[in-house]
């Protein structure tokens, strides 16, 4: 009976995540992206399109802003060309930032979904249940990073994959119809495959066993992905070296007077979504 369940387990239902909750175990998927290594080549974006059956919307719809890139390369310029000692052209100070769903621990998109189509999973991901989504688009409205993409048209029947192209669709990933929200899943199909395999062999997933599509194609290995709980994983070591902690909204480097040598930061941390993606880049005054 639901009311008995409610009353008996009351305290279990009354705590905040991740601040006063026990951390994820045995898996917490996380990423770190070295912006100093990123060349802005867009290979990650292309790989993501191929891996996740993302429709290519075409010129016209792209110009209407209806693009679907789960991972996008953002370009930022230094605006110091008129300053003393500044650059001659803004492009010289180009910086790139690959942006995808940050898989927040306390995701603003989850609370607002009227049908609970987006949830926090036990391995620390932000899941999107396509079948449940009714397309109110509130999640995207409340996403601070704006990394959720809506299927404005019925792409499968709209010739997004003409004739033979449909043969290259990834069989492990559903093709989404019109009216559903979608976003980066950290290549959940690869994660699940590895998890199942590891389980059948009676072990945990090893570091490097899972590569996300974007990570796999990155020519400069700017992206690393792995299990944050596993102390041997590359991601864990990077997070630890940068002293970035998952369940804090202010990191050690923010406390240091006069800037820090640490490069790790998470975007919009002050909004307390507790993102799972750490970027590596010294924040410079000129880039602000």
């Amino acid at each position: 009976m639901s009311v008995t369940n409610l009353l008996e387990n009351w305290s279990q239902f009354r705590h905040f995540h991740p601040v006063d909750d026990k951390p994820h175990d045995p898996y917490k998927w996380a990423m770190s992206i070295d912006l100093d290594a990123c060349t802005g080549c867009n290979a990650c974006s292309v790989a993501c399109y191929a891996e996740n059956n993302i429709p290519v919307v075409g010129k016209e719809r792209f110009s209407h802003g209806q693009q679907m890139h789960w991972i996008r390369i953002e370009r930022y310029w230094d605006e110091d060309q008129n300053a003393v000692g500044g650059r001659d052209f803004p492009d010289q100070g180009a910086q790139f930032l690959p942006m995808m769903c940050q898989q927040c621990e306390a995701a603003p998109c989850e609370t607002v979904c009227p049908v609970a189509a987006t949830n926090h999973t036990s391995d620390g991901l932000n899941s999107q249940v396509y079948n449940r989504c009714i397309g109110s688009r509130y999640c995207s409205a409340n996403c601070p990073f704006k990394v959720r993409y809506f299927n404005w048209y019925d792409y499968p029947s709209d010739d997004a994959w003409p004739a033979e192209m449909s043969q290259q669709l990834n069989p492990d990933v559903t093709v989404r119809g019109k009216g559903v929200m979608e976003k980066c899943t950290f290549c959940i199909q690869r994660v699940n495959e590895a998890k199942v395999k590891a389980k059948s062999e009676g072990r945990l997933v090893r570091d490097g066993e899972i590569q996300t599509a974007c990570q796999q194609v990155c020519p400069t290995s700017a992206i690393s992905f792995g299990n944050l709980v596993d102390t041997e994983s590359r991601v864990h070591k990077q997070w630890e070296a940068q002293k970035v902690e998952l369940d804090k909204d202010k990191q050690e480097k923010d406390e240091q007077e006069g800037g820090s040598k640490l490069r790790g930061y998470r975007i919009l941390e002050e909004l307390r979504p507790y993102p799972s993606v750490m970027y590596l880049e010294r924040v410079r005054e000129s880039a602000v």
């Binding site: 209806q66 607002v112 049908v115 009714i134 409340n142 993409y149 809506f150």
Partner: protein, 452 residues
């Protein structure tokens, strides 16, 4: 000038009001048919959008919400004045509400129904709409009760059903009058069924009074909660320009404001179409106008408070949204909202215009235009200037499909309203009688006191 002539015979009240139920004039048919035409434009747009996809609305990926949500808030807002007139003024024993509250209450019901349509056309998978309803099912799936959208659905359901019941209960004595006076056709059957055998016995009146008062007491906090919940759709989110503490009262004030303006518009139309000059009198119009003016100033104040608190805060993101509203691509609409919402109502302060029908008609339409712009200016600019820089260079302009549906909603509302006015008495007969009776008693009393 008196609110109503106290010498009107009660039988004449019956006659005059019941006349509005018979033999539509040509003008009535013109209004109904054009409303139907306008509504079918909206239906056409929705059919097209349903088949092709939401993309035809020209919404895009950072701008996921558009005119549908803005117009949804607009209609919800408009519904609040009915409650103001029928419940708040009822508790305050303001007699002058009596001839005009019935149509205001009907307006509440129909604008809620119109608002409901926008929820439907907004969502991407209308055919899965039932997912958002809390119905028990074998999969143990429930909607997400944390979502302000779900609160919205619940609040609107409560408000709509309570308003319909309130409207109906308040109409029972009038339905009995209609039953007694109309002797043929489907109307006879309809009124007999709906009047529930009301005879005006002492027992019925006693229970009626308590019931009416109780529901009025419920409706007031309900109306406030409905629009604060709509405000929560924005205030509970994290976006700059939406995450504002003062939104709930601001929304409620805006709701009463646009509702009052709509009451003035409909007042003028009904007065003309049904020749209700004797009941919808100029002094009553004047009181409504003064009320509207007062609320417009409350709205202006809350607007200023919102801007000021953003302006003096250290929240750079919210400040940027505000600056962008005033200077960016939305500036003409934003300033239009300020003009229509805060400057135009100043006309209402001038005594000469408080009873001038042409002036009031134009002003009330402008006020509502301003309030519609306000809702749009709440929804849209935040999307093009959010926290994340990627959104900053995206512009978006609603497509004709969106505009068509906004237009269509006015047709739908007009259609419902006109049908209501032909089928049900749009002036409360028994309450006008009460009003006349009390006035007469009052003047008799003061006369006899004067004689002493």
């Amino acid at each position: 000038m008196k609110d109503i002539n106290e010498d009107i015979a009660w039988a004449k009240i019956n006659q005059d009001v019941l006349k509005s139920l018979e033999n539509p004039r040509k003008l009535y048919w013109v209004i109904v048919l054009s409303a139907l035409a306008v509504f079918s434009v909206g239906v056409g747009c929705e059919v097209y959008q349903y088949n092709v996809g939401m993309g035809v609305a020209n919404l895009n990926n950072p701008h996921v919400w558009g005119l549908y949500i803005a117009t949804f808030i607009f209609w919800i807002g408009m519904s609040h004045s009915g409650t103001l007139l029928s419940a708040i003024l009822h508790l305050m024993h303001a007699d002058w509400r009596k001839p005009i509250y019935r149509f205001a209450e009907a307006m509440t019901t129909f604008s809620l129904m119109t608002a409901g349509l926008f929820v439907m056309v907004h969502i991407g998978r209308l055919w899965q709409f039932y997912y958002s309803l809390p119905y028990p099912n074998e999969r143990g799936l429930w909607p997400n009760f944390q979502s302000p959208l779900l609160w919205d659905a619940m609040a609107i359901f409560t408000y709509l059903s309570s308003s319909i019941l309130f409207l109906y209960v308040g109409m029972i004595p009038d339905l009995a009058i209609a039953r007694d006076n109309i002797h043929e056709g489907w109307r006879k059957k309809l009124y007999s069924a709906l009047a529930l055998g009301w005879e005006g016995t002492d027992r019925q009146w006693r229970n009626f009074r308590v019931t009416y008062l109780t529901i009025a007491c419920f409706l007031i906090p309900l109306a406030v909660s409905v629009h604060s919940i709509v405000a929560s759709d924005f205030a509970m989110s994290q976006q700059p320009g939406w995450h504002v503490t003062s939104f709930p009262p601001y929304f409620v004030a805006g709701a009463l404001y646009s509702g009052c303006a709509a009451i003035i518009t409909l007042f003028i139309i009904l007065r003309y179409v049904f020749r209700f000059e004797e009941y919808m009198t100029l002094p009553i119009l004047k009181k409504t106008v003064r009320l509207t003016f007062a609320i417009s100033m409350v709205w202006t104040y809350l607007n200023a408070v919102e801007f000021a608190s953003v302006w003096y805060s250290h929240d750079e993101a919210s400040k940027a949204v505000l600056i962008q509203k005033a200077t960016g691509p939305y500036a003409p609409f934003w300033w239009g909202m300020i003009f229509c919402g805060s400057v135009v109502p100043l006309v209402l302060a001038i005594k000469r215009f408080q009873t001038s029908i042409p002036v009031l008609f134009v002003v009330s339409l402008l006020l509502n235009l301003g309030m519609w712009l306000e809702r749009w200016m709440i929804v849209a600019p935040t999307f093009s200037h959010g926290y994340y820089p990627w959104t900053w260079d995206h512009d978006q302009w609603p497509s004709l499909v969106q505009w068509g549906m906004v237009l269509g909603s006015f047709g739908w509302f007009t259609l419902l309203f006109m049908i209501f006015c032909k089928v049900f008495p749009s002036v409360s007969m028994y309450e006008v009688k009460e009003m006349v009776y009390h006035r007469k008693l009052h003047s008799k009393k003061s006369e006899s006191q004067g004689a002493h």
